[in-house]
């Protein structure tokens, strides 16, 4: 902070002379200047007055951040450049496409050829630019200290994140609006129907939404510069994957093969699963920026539960009505197992000390305590929650695979489920056991359990080969019992429907033993009791 009065004086003098037409900034001669329009009530009468009134009233409903970012970003260079590039690209493609198809445009339907170009014109800014801009916008707030002023307002952390997401959606809408004429043009050229165009837009839009929500979450993961850079790289990677996925789905499934009921069901499921991901990412981002004393975990756990239901439901639906292949169930279970391993690892970073504020909100009845304790924050409850919910989900899916695939069921989906449950409990249990001593020394950043998990997974990939080289002098050629440590190999073996039931049971047993070891460290988090809300807070709520 500069403490040079002379310098400050000089700057101020400068400022004063610049605003001379505004007169004295110190407030005596104010009456001469009109107030800024934002500080004025609408006073116009008649039709336009009413319109003014109405539009202001509508704007009150919008998230303040959306209002601010709309004002800001419409002036920002990044937006203007992207917008005009998009316009130019779409015009270029229109002209180019028409010239290339020159004589045919008049007689043959060419809309289906034209839309490929428009797909890229829309998908690249929507999936590529908007998420990165959103992440930068949130990260910049945190980096440039504007964020703290924001969090101490009445805006909840959820509204802050939603405001950012809404602004991103507004940008998407504007880009989309720019390309609507082109889409109308392709429709007029025939060769493509409205349903296809709509499905295409829905898929692009939801992909962009999921990636944007993920990008916002990435922005909140760390405040450090280096971390932010890593997070940005991670998002760029996600964007890349999403572009490829979206292009594959849109160009191959929707455009090449045409929209039929299968594509529609897949699109619908994608929208639902995508929305649940958006909800989760947004909630994570909001929790990251919420006050530390707040309960930042229970809401997320409910969401994860919901997400598992949606995932299992989607896979179940596809399995029952589209594609009765048992592999599908196993892939669904692989996702569930990985999901809970990861989520459980994140939950291990939670602190076992509950703030008084969290303790106020704990369930108070016996039944509530019995059922809802696992939703309370804390690494122990998180471990049990992840293992229990994951196991339940995997089991239900496996049973589904067994019964529905009755005609040809090989029982492999059950073996695969045993492997997944064993790995989930085993690996999560090991991370937790390592986390207990390590967190005492290294703190509870979420990067700690994640790095422990990564190292454990890596080690167990190498371990079997190391052991067999040490004992037999060569890496064993075919899959043996020792290779159960090698999760990658095991999973691919189990997928190939030639897995030995004995080994599956072994994996399940080892996982179970590790889980039991973990339970020994649990009793403490069982014991949390609800505490009374302070009288002063009750009085204050009564006064509101």
């Amino acid at each position: 902070m500069s403490d040079h009065p002379e310098k400050a004086l000089a700057i101020d003098k400068n400022g004063l002379s610049k605003s001379d037409q505004n007169g004295d900034v110190c407030g005596d001669a104010e009456a001469e200047f009109p107030y800024h329009w934002l500080a004025l009530d609408v006073e116009r009468d008649g039709f336009w007055g009413k319109v003014d009134h109405a539009s202001r009233r509508v704007a009150e409903w919008f998230n303040p951040i959306l209002v601010k970012e709309a004002r800001q970003s419409l002036k920002s260079r990044q937006f203007i450049i992207t917008f005009f590039l998009l316009l130019i690209a779409s015009c270029f493609w229109t002209v180019f496409g028409v010239i290339v198809n020159a004589p045919n445009v008049y007689y043959v339907p060419t809309g289906d050829a034209m839309i490929y170009g428009y797909y890229f014109v829309l998908a690249i800014p929507l999936i590529g630019m908007v998420p990165l801009a959103a992440q930068r916008s949130l990260a910049a707030e945190i980096d440039e200290q504007t964020f703290e002023m924001l969090v101490i307002t009445k805006l909840s952390s959820m509204r802050i994140v939603m405001g950012k997401l809404n602004s991103a959606m507004l940008q998407m809408l504007i880009y989309f609006a720019a390309i609507v004429p082109c889409l109308a043009f392709t429709y007029l050229l025939r060769g493509i129907d409205l349903l296809t165009i709509t499905t295409l837009i829905v898929v692009i839009f939801f992909t962009a939404l999921v990636v944007t929500a993920a990008a916002l979450m990435m922005a909140t993961l760390t405040e450090k510069r280096a971390g932010q850079t890593l997070a940005l790289l991670a998002t760029i990677f996600v964007v890349f994957i999403a572009e490829i996925w979206c292009a594959a789905f849109c160009l191959d499934a929707i455009l090449r093969r045409g929209v039929d009921s299968e594509e529609l069901v897949l699109t619908g499921l994608f929208v639902i699963v995508g929305l649940s991901c958006v909800a989760l990412f947004v909630k994570v981002a909001a929790s990251r920026i919420a006050p530390v004393t707040e309960n930042r975990s229970t809401g997320l756990r409910y969401l994860m539960f919901l997400q598992q239901l949606i995932w299992a439901g989607s896979i179940g639906l596809i399995f029952l009505f589209l594609d009765g292949d048992e592999d599908l169930v196993s892939i669904g279970n692989l996702v569930i197992g990985t999901y809970w391993l990861l989520m459980g690892t994140f939950m291990l970073a939670e602190s076992p000390e509950l703030s008084p504020r969290v303790q106020r909100g704990l369930p108070s009845t016996f039944a509530g305590r019995a059922i809802l304790t696992w939703f309370n924050p804390g690494p122990g409850t998180g471990f049990v929650y992840a293992v229990a919910t994951g196991t339940a989900g995997i089991t239900v899916m496996a049973l589904l695979g067994m019964t529905a695939g009755g005609r040809s069921s090989s029982g492999q989906s059950l073996l695969f489920a045993m492997v997944m449950v064993g790995y989930l409990t085993g690996y999560l249990g090991i991370v937790r056991l390592l986390m207990i001593p390590l967190s005492r020394r290294l703190g509870r950043a979420f990067t700690l359990p994640v790095s422990i998990l990564a190292s454990v997974l890596l080690l167990s990939l190498l371990l079997p080969s190391v052991i067999s080289v040490a004992t037999t002098g060569s890496t064993g050629g075919s899959y043996a019992a020792i290779d159960t440590f090698n999760w990658a190999w095991t999973i691919s073996e189990a997928m190939d429907r030639r897995f030995s039931p004995n080994l599956a049971v072994l994996i399940l047993l080892v996982g179970g033993v590790i889980a039991l070891l973990n339970l020994a460290f649990l009793f403490r988090e069982f014991d949390y009791r609800r505490i009374a809300v302070p009288q002063r807070v009750l009085d204050d709520s009564a006064g509101e």
Binding site: A8, Q72, S76, I152
Partner: protein, 321 residues
């Protein structure tokens, strides 16, 4: 004004720190600090660089967590009920960022919206803030183009926009020109007159002397003294510098001065004698009485006791290592 909220019925201390501690590794940034500020008064928080002012103010403003202890605003915990505290608090940090592509009016409008103000209520608050902080003529200026002093005003305006009952101002006068400082003083006093409770920090004691009802002096995380300026000065055993001018020769005066143990003559020139005494106001009065009692013809008797800087230096110097 916003209609009086029921919160105003709270009649305990509006700001209260209870044994607040905050460690950064080995550093004890705040070390068992406790004080209270009653409604409508201005509390000056004074300390050298790194004393822990910002750290404790940020905890009070719900932006940091203490290692132990409690920070209360109107009886509500800044740690466990940050939302409730935030709604009655205006915080002006010592450094803050601003948005690109935004002008002053948009900036204030945004925070007014963020504070949940709508419709006429908001426009009225915006007009009030712009008039009160003298930002009216700057409404269309982009924030990036503002001078330091103007940014300070804008930041103060932002802190005031929702008419909070409590203001926490971290070095609001830093970088202001003399005239803006006087403005600031006027603003602070008129806010206090409206029954706002204000916590204001500074390195410079004189800066606060005219706007604060009470001050607390902090160094190395420890609160060394609290009270009014007079109380703090009065409790000090200090060496006070005194200059006297006598009518005739200085010999008599020198003689009677040297009869006091605690007097140390620094210089004597012409009719003036410059010396120090050891003690506070009481000692100074006693000395005057005895000099006059001894028949010395005094023309002038002045002390440099209004040097707040000295008070500050004495309190903070070497008291804590």
């Amino acid at each position: 004004m916003i209609p009086e909220s029921p919160a105003l019925s709270w009649d305990g201390p509006v700001i209260e720190l209870q044994n607040l501690c905050r460690n950064f590794g080995e550093t004890r940034a705040v070390d068992h600090v406790s004080f209270t500020v009653p409604r409508g008064s201005v509390f000056g928080y004074i300390g050298p660089n790194g004393a822990g002012k910002t750290t404790s103010m940020r905890i009070l403003a719900t932006l940091g967590l203490p290692t132990s202890g409690e920070a209360l605003v109107e009886g509500l915990s800044a740690i466990n009920d940050p939302e409730r505290v935030r709604s009655r608090l205006g915080f002006m940090p010592d450094s803050f960022g601003t948005y690109a592509d935004t002008n002053c009016a948009e900036y204030l409008d945004f925070f007014a919206r963020a504070q949940g103000l709508i419709g006429r209520e908001r426009t009225r608050r915006l007009r009030w803030v712009m008039d009160f902080t003298g930002l009216r003529g700057l409404a269309n200026k982009p924030i990036r183009g503002l001078s330091k002093g103007m940014r300070q005003r804008l930041c103060l305006g932002r802190a005031l926009v929702h008419d909070p009952a409590v203001l926490i101002l971290d070095e609001p006068a830093a970088g202001l020109d003399p005239r803006a400082r006087i403005d600031l003083r006027r603003i602070i006093r008129s806010l206090a007159a409206e029954n706002k409770t204000i916590l204001i920090s500074s390195h410079i004691l004189t800066e606060l002397s005219e706007m604060c009802d009470r001050v607390g002096i902090i160094e190395q995380g420890k609160l060394l003294a609290t009270g009014t300026f007079e109380e703090i000065r009065g409790t000090l055993k200090q060496n006070r510098e005194i200059v006297i001018r006598v009518a005739g020769e200085t010999d008599d005066a020198m003689r009677s001065l040297q009869s006091f143990e605690d007097v140390e003559v620094l210089s004597s020139e012409g009719h003036k004698i410059h010396f120090t005494i050891h003690g506070g106001d009481q000692r100074q009065m006693d000395l005057l009485r005895s000099l006059i009692g001894a028949g010395i013809e005094l023309l002038e008797y002045s002390s440099r006791d209004d040097s707040l800087e000295d008070v500050f230096l004495q309190i903070t110097e070497g008291r804590v290592q």
